[in-house]
């Protein structure tokens, strides 16, 4: 993984985080991003960015996204495009699913700098400089592997449309909160909708992962004493 972005919202590896929009073909509004109104900004850290897109038919944007550890250049997307739209339609990343486009179903869930988000509610240009992790980028080992395996073993996958979003959300939950109880699991997964399973099997899969992990942990205690490393570099617990 090339992603070495610091935790949270600071600038990622792809840039200094100054603009959310155009770099190359700016229309003149983004120069230097001095911040609106003066008062709020003027600091060093991040700055407000203007996506100086044209209002014309194809006000195209060019920027880079770090998707599952790969830097991808986005050309030809519109300023207003969501991360979901750009991932699927521009970059061909089908590991995110497109269902409601209103932030209600969770099918499009990704981790943004380690935080669970619905990619249909995120402006793609604003994700420049953050690490975007889809289910495909969670890794083939560790927690994410266990989550996938238990979804299969417990029959938590039927049509499968919700599964990528659930696997991301469950991995996020168990990274932050390995011992979540049933109510906490339900609460944490409330942003993900499944129309097939009735959730019982999904819950069972989460429980099974927890059981496997706690066995592993007690076994590990001798050898390394290390806790499980989160696959995404570890979201903060706030």
């Amino acid at each position: 993984m090339t992603a070495v972005a610091p935790d949270g919202f600071a600038a990622g590896p792809t840039g200094t985080g100054e603009t959310a929009g155009t770099d190359g073909e700016a229309t003149g509004t983004d120069g230097g991003a001095t911040g609106a109104g003066g008062g709020a900004n003027g600091g060093d850290g991040g700055e407000a960015g203007v996506g100086g897109g044209e209002t014309g038919a194809d006000g195209n944007e060019s920027y880079r996204l770090n998707v599952d550890g790969f830097l991808r250049t986005v050309n030809g997307a519109r300023l207003g495009d969501s991360l979901l739209t750009v991932l699927r339609d521009t970059l061909g990343v089908t590991a995110v699913k497109d269902a409601c486009e209103q932030g209600r179903c969770g099918a499009c869930s990704v981790l943004l700098d380690g935080r669970l988000a619905a990619s249909c509610t995120v402006l793609a240009a604003d994700a420049d400089g953050t690490r975007v992790v889809t289910v495909a980028g969670l890794g083939g080992a560790g927690l994410a592997r266990a989550v996938r395996a238990m979804f299969l073993a417990e029959g938590a996958v039927q049509c499968g449309f919700c599964t990528p979003g659930f696997v991301v959300a469950v991995t996020d939950l168990l990274t932050r909160h390995p011992d979540a109880d049933e109510e906490e699991i339900r609460e944490a997964l409330a942003g993900n909708i499944c129309r097939c399973t009735g959730y019982g099997r999904i819950l069972a899969a989460v429980r099974a992962v927890q059981a496997e992990r706690s066995l592993l942990r007690s076994g590990d205690a001798h050898s390394s004493g290390q806790t499980q490393r989160p696959p995404d570099g570890g979201p903060d617990g706030g």
């Binding site: 003066g38 209002t55 486009e101 969770g106 935080r115 249909c120 939950l173």
Partner: protein
């Protein structure tokens, strides 16, 4: 830069987390030639505590607020917003920009007498939340922070509605007690176009509560709720009746939530004669610091 963007004549949209704006851009409900993304303005994410007041940057997310021990009531209101995905993304500035009728933060801040801090080419400004909401934001200004008093007693936030993760509340209610100033404030969201304060009920509480002990009589919560129902029915302009609850239902729900929040904030002197009636199966969630 915001001013420059504005002067360019293009339609400018401020972007917080995007939970409201991005779906609206997608559906065509909103159109923007220029988007000013605020997420990376670190100054906007600051939370600060003064001797009497708390300041919360417009860029703070609900997740940022959810664990904030300095304002347990606000933290509670933030925890019952949407889903993890929405709480990780949605911001304070966006909640003020969207100004939803029963927005959780808006209802809480209305009860808390919050002030809104703004910045524009004319400089910094601050105004009481109701005035900010009535006047609207100048096109070249942005919200930088909200400021509210440190909690002076128990604070309870309750809401009722459909699936919380997918839909904002139908009716929301915040009750804040200030033991020092012998004051209780109550705001109801989801009845008018914006959350409203319940003046009569607040005055009733001021006179009814035994402030030396923080206790009330067993019948007080009921009376408090009734006053809220009466006040709710008088709110203008009223929210048009929608598929999610008739006006009568929302007035009733306001009274039930307010009575319940009131009872949770204060000690009742003796067991109530009868169990106060609430609609069965309501999904209210709440908490006390």
């Amino acid at each position: 830069m915001l001013a420059a963007a504005h002067d360019s004549g293009a339609a400018v949209a401020l972007l917080g987390g995007g939970t409201d704006l991005v779906p609206a851009l997608r559906s065509g409900e909103r159109v923007a030639g220029v988007v000013v993304a605020l997420r990376r303005v670190l100054e906007l994410r600051v939370r600060g505590a003064g001797a009497d007041s708390l300041t919360i940057g417009a860029g703070a997310t609900y997740t940022d607020l959810a664990g904030w021990s300095l304002s347990p009531g606000l933290a509670r209101a933030a925890r019952v917003v949407g889903s993890v995905q929405i709480r990780n993304t949605g911001t304070v500035g966006g909640a003020l920009g969207s100004a939803r009728p029963a927005g959780d933060l808006l209802t809480f801040l209305t009860a808390a007498d919050a002030e809104v801090l703004t910045a524009s080419p004319r400089g910094l400004d601050r105004q009481p939340l109701p005035r900010f909401l009535a006047d609207g934001l100048a096109p070249d200004a942005l919200v930088t922070a909200v400021r509210l008093a440190r909690p002076g007693g128990p604070q309870v936030y309750l809401k009722i509605g459909d699936r919380q993760a997918a839909y904002p509340a139908v009716v929301s209610c915040a009750v804040l007690v200030d033991r020092v100033r012998h004051r209780l404030t109550c705001a109801i969201g989801g009845v008018g176009l914006l959350p409203a304060r319940m003046g009569d009920a607040e005055r009733y509480a001021r006179d009814e509560v035994d402030w030396s002990t923080g206790t009330v009589s067993p019948t007080a919560a009921r009376r408090f709720g009734d006053l809220v129902v009466e006040a709710a029915a008088r709110i203008t302009p009223a929210l048009p009746a929608g598929p999610r609850g008739s006006a009568e239902y929302r007035w009733h729900a306001a009274g039930v939530l307010a009575g319940r929040a009131f009872a949770r904030c204060l000690h009742v002197t003796a067991p109530p004669a009868g169990v106060p009636g609430g609609p069965a199966g309501d999904s209210a969630v709440g908490g006390q610091p």
